[in-house]
């Protein structure tokens, strides 16, 4: 049993859903100890009120104006982190992976990064994590008194509200000199009407073979819309600029684990598989039946995607209309 601090992730003044996965992981680590949530950044007051029903002992908030830089937040988070917690937890989003290691280095804590499961062995917390692009599952322990943990959003279900309401306390912001060396100039947030990749039940992904941004729009998006799916992509498609980089799935992109993953014209390189092989059912549409995606595909439609995708969209609309 230990007290755990969750560092909430904010986007445009709202708590991101990633925070709820961190709360779930924190409950496992705390094993009956208290959980506090630190809400830091612009809009912290609003985000604090969003997180008040999740059973935290208290919510600590620090309003810090202007955009996020780790350098600007690290002092405040480190001060709170040092005040009696056994573990500091966030989701391993690009935010958690940027901020928490800086905090860890400051307070001398070891980090278990991008963790997929938490167990206890002989009284010690053991963290399981995929390595080598998901080809090795490693288990590690952290040898420092305070442990910093970032967790995979797809492996820790979003916490459900547990009722009650946590008291909100202000904490003093502490901004150190290094912050003056970085100036936040702007954030371009990608907006989409479709479900978020990490949360979607169905993901439709396209690869290099789609050949253009227009084909993504005119072929893949109607299929995604018919299924109520999120859209993803291979690195090759992101590199070529067919879609924005935040849609990349794989070792260095996002990890997804939907009920249904449809890979359209994606070869299935090791680095891509790392991001999607945890999906329940995997479909490949590819004209090459030898493509490595076959190693993980449950269903494989050997076809030219330019014929198959519009047909599939029509078939899905038909069965949906029939109910």
């Amino acid at each position: 049993m230990t007290d755990v601090l969750v560092v909430a992730e904010l986007l445009e003044g709202k708590a991101r859903k990633t925070t709820l996965s961190a709360i779930t992981a924190a409950r496992q680590i705390a094993a009956g100890g208290a959980i506090d949530i630190l809400v830091i950044g612009e809009g912290a007051s609003n985000a604090a009120s969003e997180l008040t029903g999740f059973g935290a002992r208290k919510i600590l908030k620090a309003e810090i104006a202007g955009g996020y830089t780790a350098e600007k937040y690290v002092g405040t988070v480190a001060n709170v982190a040092k005040s009696g917690y056994g573990a500091i937890v966030a989701t391993s989003s690009s935010y958690g992976k940027d901020l928490l290691p800086r905090v860890a280095a400051r307070i001398g804590a070891g980090v278990a990064p991008d963790v997929s499961a938490i167990t206890v062995d002989g009284g010690k917390l053991v963290y399981t994590r995929p390595m080598y692009a998901g080809n090795v599952i490693g288990q590690l322990t952290v040898n420092t008194p305070v442990q910093v943990v970032t967790v995979r959003q797809t492996e820790f279900e979003a916490a459900a509200p547990s009722g009650g309401s946590s008291p909100v306390e202000d904490v003093a912001a502490s901004i150190d000199d290094v912050a003056s060396k970085v100036e936040f100039k702007g954030l371009e947030v990608v907006k989409s009407e479709r479900p978020d990749l990490a949360e979607a039940e169905i993901v439709v992904s396209g690869g290099r073979s789609l050949k253009s941004a227009d084909n993504f729009k005119n072929l893949l998006e109607p299929l995604a819309d018919a299924l109520g799916a999120a859209v993803g992509a291979s690195r090759a498609a992101c590199d070529a600029g067919y879609v924005s980089a935040d849609l990349q799935i794989g070792q260095t992109g996002k990890v997804v684990a939907p009920k249904l993953y449809i890979a359209v014209g994606i070869s299935g390189a090791i680095q891509h598989l790392a991001g999607m092989k945890g999906s329940k059912t995997i479909v490949a549409i590819n004209k090459d039946k030898e493509a490595p995606i076959a190693q993980v595909a449950d269903y494989f439609l050997v076809a030219d995607l330019f014929d198959a995708v519009p047909q599939l969209t029509e078939e899905i609309k038909k069965v949906k209309a029939a109910g």
Partner: protein
């Protein structure tokens, strides 16, 4: 401009599914697999070379030092970096098993203090450990800013200020950073226009490429004569012990079931509905 580029050798990432686990489950073995430069480090090195050259005339206008911490054999990876165009190399001898982000960052800190580079450019992650920690640790120990997941780096004409675009889950953030600074690179750092240094003409575009530049024969010959300094953690005065211990490794469970090949979109939809029950 002087740039330090830490590089690590990793078991051939395109064959990462062929690594094995030792009988007692305490070690990952990559026998039979070729050692390769961690792809992100190759990209970082290429970005650093672009920042220290006139891209148009290919003349060098700065210095790149590559450093690797690992067994003696890792010198081959350093030579590869020198063949690509880095000026010097440093090998810090160490056993891979006894390194974690803390130890690596502490060693790099000492090297930075000796070398005084304007920038340290690292990969966002090594593709074996996939940890994504060292760059940030190093920046914190140095009291420097870090721009993680850079997709674009532009320097001011005097090279002291950098405009960096960071790739995020939610979009992209732009930072202005005063050097010296740490940068970690993301996948798209080798886009033809991603790196601008105030020397290479602004309209110059690098060719599209998925990796760093090939070492020419001349480069490979030259690399043999370039200096590689050998040192150790102890000689650098680093006695940090790892903060994390890997207690076991396993291979992931194979996906169960086999692939069903289908003939048409209609058949696929029927199977997804009636067999997999996901529609």
């Amino acid at each position: 401009m002087k740039i330090l580029v830490p590089i690590k050798r990793v078991a051939d990432p395109d064959n990462a599914n062929k690594v094995k686990i030792s009988g007692d489950g305490t070690e990952v073995t990559s026998e039979g697999l070729e050692w390769k430069m961690n792809p992100f480090d190759e990209w970082s090195l290429e970005a650093a070379l672009r920042l220290t050259e006139d891209g148009k005339t290919k003349s060098r206008v700065g210095e790149v030092v590559v450093v690797s911490i690992g067994p003696k054999d890792a010198v081959a990876t350093i030579r590869q970096g020198l063949a690509m165009g880095a000026e010097r190399g440093i090998l810090v001898e160490g056993e891979d098993k006894k390194l974690d982000a803390l130890v690596v960052a502490k060693i790099l800190q000492k090297i930075v203090e000796k070398e005084n580079p304007d920038l340290v450019v690292l990969g966002k992650q090594t593709v074996d450990g996939d940890s994504n920690l060292v760059g940030t640790y190093l920046a914190e120990f140095l009291g420097w800013p870090v721009a993680n997941y850079a997709t674009s780096i532009r320097t001011s004409d005097d090279g002291k200020t950098l405009t960096i675009v960071r790739e995020l889950d939610t979009g992209a953030a732009t930072l202005e950073v005063k050097g010296p600074a740490v940068i970690t690179t993301s996948d798209r750092i080798l886009h033809p226009h991603a790196v601008k240094n105030g020397v290479t003409p602004d309209d110059f575009a690098y060719p599209e490429s998925e990796g760093g530049r090939y070492a020419s024969l001349k480069g490979i010959m030259a690399a043999k004569k370039k200096p590689v300094e050998e040192t150790s953690a102890a000689a650098l005065g680093v006695d940090a012990a790892p903060q994390v211990s890997y207690v076991s490794f396993k291979l992931p469970p194979a996906r169960s079931g086999s692939t069903t090949f289908v003939e048409s979109a209609a058949e696929l939809v029927q199977k997804l509905r009636n067999e997999a029950k996901v529609l």
